[in-house]
Amino acid sequence: MSQVRPDEISAILRKQLTGFDSEADVYDMGTVLEVGDGIARIYGLAKVQAGELVELPDSLDSEGKPVRGMVLNLEEDNVGIVLFGSSNVVEEGHTVKRTKSIASLQVGDGVLGRVIDPLGRPLDGKGEIAGETIELPLERKAPGVIYRQPVGEPLQTGLKAIDALIPIGRGQRELIIGDRQTGKTAVAIDTIINQKYTQDSEKPVFCIYVAVGQKGSTVANIVSTLKEYGAMDYTVVVSAPASSSAPMRYIAPFAGAAIGEYFRDTGRHALVIYDDLSKQAVAYRELSLLLRRPPGREAYPGDVFYLHSRLLERSAKIIENDEVAKMMNNIPDELAPKMKGGGSLTALPVIETQAGDVSAYIPTNVISITDGQIFLDTDLFNSGIRPAIDVGISVSRVGGSAQVKSMKKLSGTLKLDLAQYRELEAFSKFGSDLDAATQRQLKRGERTVELMKQGEYKPLPVEQQIALLKVNNSGLFDNLPVTEIQAFESMFLETVGVRYSKKMEFLAQSGQLDDTFGEELLSVAESIIDQLIAGEEA
């Protein structure tokens, strides 16, 4: 056993202490005038910047650390700050020190697999973030037009209904909107789980899940689900639960965006989920009202649109050209040497509506900023159609160009067919006699809707989706009872997976479904359908 020599200890301590009587420290200081409801007003700090972090060395929280705050209001005779910690320990007359740094967090590849708070502090008890980290500001201007490129690569969610009908591309912003309990988070989590297949490819998608104002137990559940499906290895969870202060909930999505930008600007792909932005807007409203900013519609401050637009604009597909990407606007100094082109940041913001009211203030704002929305409906959910996507009003404005070729071909008329089915379905409820063509269309629609159903945490690879859509389009399902569709799906995928593993692999890589393989798939499907029908009759 090695021994520690006392003279060594004193030598080290002395070395630590040599810096002791060096230069005097220079800092800017102000005084707390009033405090309450998580905000404080400060006298002094004449040179402080908006958005700067300040420290209150006299106000120590339960862990003995000084409370920190962020400057939001610069007024004529005082400075309004929001406090990140408890405001109980802050008293009138306490000193406030500038830190001279704008609100920021430490980001590096080490954040993957971790649960952190919006200021980058670990919450999972696994110690400091490992590896090299760089400091990135929470607020950063979105890349300009010349540093962007149209969306062109698909981001597979693994959900048949989304990948076929509302495809999402890398760099897109697709809103997930719906009432409470319609499976919004489930869509987001499935998408994260499905990114597992990309991890072995050349272009892995790293995921960031931002939980804003959610129950602590919900966040814990999500983390354990992600772990269970092996998705935590490439995911960061930024948590600002309901118990955290309003400023934390306000900055959490910006922290998620900053982490996403780290991957985006180093030439990689990232997916960020803001769950949910309505709660962020509520937190921002809380702060704004306490800071006495004038309230507008639904008591939200005037700049609540800017709050979401500046956040979502940061999702982008960056131009492939490294030279151009290096000249991007507002690159933080530490990030500059790592800049690379070709990266992307895809955003899936979540908005919770009240009683299906999409014309409320925040939903309309976010709908107008994003490149489309996935609308989840309570009635569909309750009638067993899960994911409860309302295909009629869900759109993807740019994802189509990113869709896999054969998928695009197969899903071309699908949306229209489904819309017609919905219309006829309502009509057929009157019970009048229907002609054969209408009945056929109803039959087909019913089966397509059934095929689009999918269990939670069971994302399907794109090649399997293509194979299923091929069968659906051929009309082979018309004779199969609706109740047997799910059984068919599992039998078919299993058989095809075993019999044609090479060809399926090729389909996954190239996205091309040639005619011979198409025929082979259909013949497999036919034999399984015959088998199922025979079983039904027996």
Partner: protein, 180 residues
């Protein structure tokens, strides 16, 4: 914090005083009034009270300061009394002194020291601060045993901290963070 209106009155006073070439005298008046109000809580309450009639306030102020202040200053008191703004008086004196310092290129510097400073120490500190800021410095020395040793200098919002207390705190932070 000084109310905006007080700053306006103070500015008007300063300009008039410069015009009439009685700046130093007015400054002394202002210091006198400031001292009187800050020393007597009764007077400051009396001026702030909305119940007391302005005629009473006016005559009381005249009685207190009569013969001790310049005509210009007593005019100010009359105007304030007529407009019912006696409560601004203290703020005006503060603003006036601030503006006077600005005019004369003087800065006030708060020095917190753990021990009484000797005359030559004060002189050298003053010289150094004057060199650094380029302005003439008015030292406000406060003895504060809490600092343990050394001193802190505060110029407006900026603090130059050379106190032993601060150093020890920094050392404490350094040691505790190293442990984690």
């Amino acid at each position: 914090m000084v109310i905006k209106a007080a700053r306006r009155y103070a500015n008007a006073m300063l300009i008039t005083a410069i015009e009439q070439k009685i700046l130093e005298k007015i400054k002394d008046d202002m210091l006198l009034i400031k001292q009187a109000i800050s020393d007597s809580s009764e007077l400051s309450l009396f001026l702030k009270s909305p119940i007391i009639k302005k005629e009473v306030k006016k005559s009381a102020l005249e009685a207190i300061f009569e013969g001790k202040i310049e005509e210009l200053t007593s005019n100010l008191i009359t105007i304030l009394s007529n407009k019912g703004r006696e409560n601004l008086l203290y703020g005006i004196t503060l603003s006036f002194i601030e503006l006077y310092h600005e005019h004369k290129n003087i800065i006030e510097v708060d020095v917190n020291s753990a021990f009484e400073l000797k005359k030559d120490e004060l002189a050298s500190l003053k010289n150094k601060l004057e060199d650094a800021t380029g302005k003439s410095v008015l030292l406000n020395v406060i003895i504060n045993k809490d600092l343990i040793g050394g001193l802190t200098v505060r110029i407006a919002d900026t603090v130059i901290d050379g106190s032993v207390k601060h150093k020890l705190n920094q050392l404490k932070i350094k040691f505790t963070t190293a442990v984690e």
